[in-house]
Symmetry: C3
C-alpha cells in the first residue's frame, strides 16, 4: 500500500536543506542586522497587518489547497514549507536588490514584503501540487522568488512602479508561473485516478475554512503596502465592498451554470476571492463604493461563467488536462486571467506595461522552472503516484478520509 | 441520488441577484460616498474591532451551524451569503434612516454597524436552516434587516436608546424572529429523517471551532460600539469573566442533566456562549468582576437546565418539533429566552421598554416573514428534502461525511 | 456501546464546580476590583496581544491535542475547561502573591498573566489526556497553577527573575509537571487499544490547524510580557526567524529518520513549534537574525532526531509506555527537554538557577499531583476506557470518525 521513497532523496533532502539553511545563516551573519525603531505604536500597527497576512498565507492559502481526498496533508504542510523557505530567500534577495547600502536591514516592513513575495510560490504551487516532491519544491521556491523580485526590480527601474502596484501583480505572476511550470512537468495529459481527485465533504470544509480566512483578511492584504493612512482606508473599503458583492454573486451564478441548478463549492471558493484580486492594483484609486461593487460583480460573474469556457479553451490550446481538482487549485490562476479584461481598463491609465511585464515574466520564468523541474535529477514522484499523501507521509493504512 | 432543483429557480436566482445588486450599485452611485478621515490611528483601531467581528460572523457563526451530517456546506456557505447581502442592505438603510443629510456616508463605523445588523439574520437562520432555499434567504435577509433597523429607529426615537444598547438586543431580536419564521414554514411538525439530523464527530468539531472563535472574540463584540475608552475596557473585562465562568459551568452541569452523567456537546456549544449574550446590554455598567461572574454562572446554568424544560414547554405550546439539530441551531434563541429573567433585572433600571420592543418586533416581524416565505411562489425545497446539502450543492455520490 | 459514568461523579461534579465558582465569586466580591486606566491606546494594544494569546490557548493548544481518533472532543473541550478555570484561580493567586496591597486588581496585564499561567496546565494535560476525568482535571488545574505561581514567586525573591523570564519557563515547567503526573497515574504501562490511539486524516488536520495557529501567533506570546517597545520588536523578529527555519527543517529531517524516507506528521507538529520554545527566554537579548536562525535549526533537528532516541531512553528509564498518540501529545514536553542543552548556553549567562528551579518544581509538583490524582477518591475512568470520548460524551453509536 505504501510506496517507497527513492533512497537517494532520503539522504539528499535533509543534506540539501541543511546546506541551504547554513548558507542562509552565513549570509545573515555577514550582511544582515535588525533595524529596531523605538516608535512602539508604528511597529505594533504594522505587526497586526503582518499577522493578518501570515494568517492568510499559512491558514488561508494552506487550507484552500486541501480539497483533495488523498492530498490534504501535503497541501497544508508543504504550503508552510514553501512559505518559510521563500520568506528567508526573499528577504535576502530583497535586501541586496532594493537597498542602497548593500546591507540587509530586517524590519517588519521587509518581513511583510518577504512574506508577500513568498506568496507567489504558494499561488503557483496550486498548479504543481501533487506532482512534485520536496526537493523540486525547494528549487521552485528559490527560482520563483528570484524571478518575482527580478521582475519587480525591472518594473521599478523601467516603469516607475511602486511597492503596492508591483505586489498586487503577484496573483497574475504566480498564476502564469504555476500554469507554465505545471505544463512542462510530465504527465500533464494524465487522467488522474478518479478516486484520488474526488474531494470529500470534510476536505471541502477545510478548503472553505481557508477561503473564509482569505475573505476576512483580504482588506489587510490589499492595504498593507500603501503609504498614506487615507489610502489604506480607501483600500480597505473598496476591497470589502468588492468582496461582499462577489460572495453574493458567487452562489447564485454558480447555480445558473449547472444543468440541474446546483451550486459548485469550487465555484464558491474561486468566485468569493476573485474580487479581492480584481480590485487589488487600483484599490487605492477608487473613490466610490459603486465602482468597487461593479468590479466585484464582474469578477464574480466572469470567474464562474468565464472560467467554464476559458478553461475548455485553455485546455484545448495548451493541452493541459485540468482535472476536477486542478480547477479548484487553479482558482487564483483562473480569476487572474479572467480579471485581465476589466483590470486592463484601470491598468491602461497608469501601468499597462507593468501588467504585461509581470505576465510575460511569469510565463517565461514558469516555463524555465518547469523545464528544470522535469530533469530526471530530482527523482520526481512517478505519475501513477501523483496526488497521493502516501508518497510523502507516514500514514497508517486505514487512515484515509472517507 | 441527486435531486432536481426546480428549473424556474435556476433561471430566476441569478437574475434576481443580478437585479438586486444592480439596484444596490445604483443607490450607491447616487447617494453614497466614502468618508475618509485621515486620522490613521483611529481608523486602524476600529479596523481591528471590525476584523474581530468579521471573524465572529463569517467563521464563528458560520461553523457554529455546521453540526448537521448532511447540511454542513449549506450552513457555512449560506451564512456568508446572508452576511454579504445583509451588510450591503443594512448600510443603505442605515444611511437613509440615521443620517441627517439623506446621504450614505460609508466609514468603518457604519460598516461595523452594517455587519452587526446583518448578524441578526445569521442568528435567525439557525432556526430556518435546511428548510429554505437561496431565494427565500434573500427575502428573509432583506426583511429582517429592515425590521431590525426599523425597530432600532423606533427605540431611539421613543426610548432614547443608544447604539450599544440597541445592538445588544440583536440576539433576542434574531432569536424571536427566527423562531416565529420557522414556525410559519411548512413541515414544522416534521420528524426529519434520523439519518440526516444526526451530527458526526467531524461536523461537531467544526461547530466547536465556530464556538471557540465566538468565545475568543466576544469581548470585542460587546465593546465595539461603546464610546469611551474606559467603558470599552470594562466591557471587555466583564465579558471575559462571564465567559470563563460559563465555560466551566457548561461542562459540569451538562453532565448533571444526563441520565448517565455524560456531557452533551450541544450543551457546551450553547452554554459557553450564553454568558456573552447575558452580559451584553449592561456590560459597560458592571463595575466589579463578581457581578459578571454571577451572570456567567446563571447564564450557563439556566441555558442548560432551563433549556431542557423550557424547550419541552415551548414545544408543547407552539407546536414546533425541535429535533436534535434544531436544538443545536437554536442555541442563541434558547439562551436569549433563558437570559430574559436576569437580564430583566438590569433592564428595569434603564430600558425595560427596549427589551420588550425588540422582542415584540422580532416576533411580529418573524411571523410576517414566515408567512411570506410560506407562499408557493418561492419553490421552497420539498419537506422530504429538508436538511440536505444535495438539494443545493453539486456533490459526488459517495462524498457524504460518514 | 456507551459506558456508564459513576453515579457519584454525576452528583458531585456540578456540586463541586458550583461550590468552587461560588468561592471564587466571594473572593472577587471581597478582594477584587477593576483597574480602569483611561489611556485608550495602551489598553487596545495590550488587548490585541491578549487576543492572540487567547487564540493560541483556546484554538491552538486545543486543536493541537485533537489528533486521537476517539478522543477529539475531550481534547478540545476539556482544554477550554482547564483554561477557563485556571485563569480565574491564577488571577486570584497572582493578586495575593504579587501585589503589595493584598487586593486583587484586575487589569488586562493581569488577565494575560493569568491566561499564560493557566497555559501550564494546558501543556501538562497533553500527557494526562485521556486518563483523567473532569474532577481530576479540576484538582490538577488548581494544584498546577498554585505550583507554578509559587515557583515564580520563589524565583523572583531568590533569583531576581522578571515576568518575561519566569513565564518563558512555562513550557519546561508544564512538560515536567505533566510527565511526572502521568507517570504516577495507574496504567502507565498500559498498551492502549491500537484502534483508539490511531489518528485519522481528519483529526490530524485539526491538529495541524492548532499547530498553525500556534506558529502564526507565537511571536506575540514571546513578546507580550516585555516592557520596552524595542525589546518587543526584537522578540518578534527572533521568534519569527527561528520559526521559519524550524518549519523548513521539520519536514526534511523527518523524512531522514524514517526508513522509507516518509515524513511523520507528528514530527512536523512538534518541530515547527520547538523553535518558539527554544528562542523564548532569551528572545529579547538576541540582536542578530542569524543567532535566532541557528536556534531554530538546532531546535528543529534536535526535536526530531533527539526525540527519537531520547524517547526510547526516557521510556526505558521511567517506564512510561509512550504510545503513538502520547508522543504527539507530549510534543511540548519533548521539545523542552530537547532544548535544554542549547538553551542552557544562554541560561548560564543570566539565569541557570531559574531553569533548574522551574524544572525541579515541575517534577516535584507533578509527582505530588500525580499521587493525589491516583487516589481512589476521584473515580478515575477505568484503564480500559482510557482515550475514549464515550466515557464523557453523549455520542450516537455510529458517530465515530472513520
Amino acid at each position: 500500500m505504501g510506496s517507497k521513497y527513492p533512497k537517494s532523496l532520503r539522504i539528499f533532502l535533509p543534506l540539501w536543506v541543511l546546506m541551504l539553511e547554513i548558507a542562509f545563516i552565513l549570509v545573515f551573519f555577514f550582511f544582515a542586522s535588525y533595524e529596531t525603531i523605538s516608535k512602539k505604536s508604528e511597529f505594533l500597527k504594522t505587526y497586526h497587518a503582518f499577522q493578518d497576512i501570515n494568517v492568510m498565507a499559512v491558514l488561508g492559502l494552506g487550507f484552500l489547497k486541501a480539497s483533495l481526498r488523498r492530498y490534504t496533508w501535503s497541501s497544508v504542510a508543504f504550503n508552510l514549507f514553501n512559505l518559510a523557505l521563500g520568506v528567508q530567500w526573499a528577504i535576502i534577495l530583497d535586501g541586496f536588490l532594493f537597498s542602497s547600502s548593500g546591507k540587509i536591514t530586517v524590519n517588519i516592513q521587509r518581513i511583510i514584503l518577504g512574506a508577500m513575495s513568498a506568496m507567489s510560490v504558494l499561488i503557483s504551487s496550486g498548479a504543481t501540487l501533487g506532482k512534485v516532491n520536496l526537493i523540486q519544491l525547494i528549487v521552485m521556491t528559490l527560482l520563483e522568488v528570484t524571478a518575482f523580485l527580478g521582475t519587480k526590480n525591472v518594473s521599478w527601474v523601467e516603469l516607475q512602479g511602486n511597492e503596492h502596484q508591483s505586489m498586487m501583480q503577484i496573483h497574475l505572476f504566480g498564476a502564469c508561473f504555476g500554469v507554465t511550470t505545471a505544463w512542462c512537468l510530465p504527465g500533464r495529459r494524465l487522467n488522474a485516478a478518479k478516486e484520488k481527485e474526488r474531494g470529500t465533504t470534510t476536505s471541502s470544509l477545510f478548503t472553505t475554512l481557508g477561503t473564509l480566512f482569505l475573505w476576512v483578511f483580504w482588506p489587510t492584504f490589499n492595504s498593507a503596502l500603501l503609504e498614506y493612512p487615507s489610502e489604506k482606508e480607501t483600500a480597505v473599503y473598496n476591497t470589502y465592498y468588492a468582496l461582499t458583492v462577489s460572495a453574493v454573486v458567487a452562489m447564485s451564478f454558480s447555480a445558473a451554470t449547472h444543468s440541474h441548478g446546483k451550486i459548485s463549492m469550487t465555484h464558491v471558493h474561486r468566485a468569493t476571492l476573485a474580487a479581492g484580486v480584481a480590485v487589488g492594483v487600483a484599490t487605492n484609486l477608487i473613490h466610490s463604493p459603486w465602482i468597487a461593487m461593479v468590479l466585484g460583480l464582474l469578477a464574480g460573474m466572469i470567474s464562474i461563467a468565464g472560467a467554464k469556457y476559458l478553461l475548455v479553451m485553455v485546455q484545448q490550446v495548451i493541452g493541459i488536462r485540468l482535472d476536477a481538482h486542478g480547477r479548484s487549485c487553479l482558482k487564483p490562476q483562473c480569476e487572474c486571467i479572467c480579471s485581465v479584461p476589466f483590470r486592463a481598463g484601470f491598468q491602461i491609465l497608469y501601468s499597462a506595461g507593468s501588467l504585461c511585464l509581470f505576465m510575460a515574466m511569469g510565463l517565461v520564468g514558469g516555463m524555465l522552472t518547469g523545464l528544470i523541474l522535469s530533469l530526471n535529477l530530482w527523482k520526481a514522484p512517478h505519475e501513477g503516484k501523483y496526488f497521493d499523501d502516501q508518497v510523502f507521509w507516514e500514514v497508517s493504512p486505514s487512515m484515509n478520509l472517507t
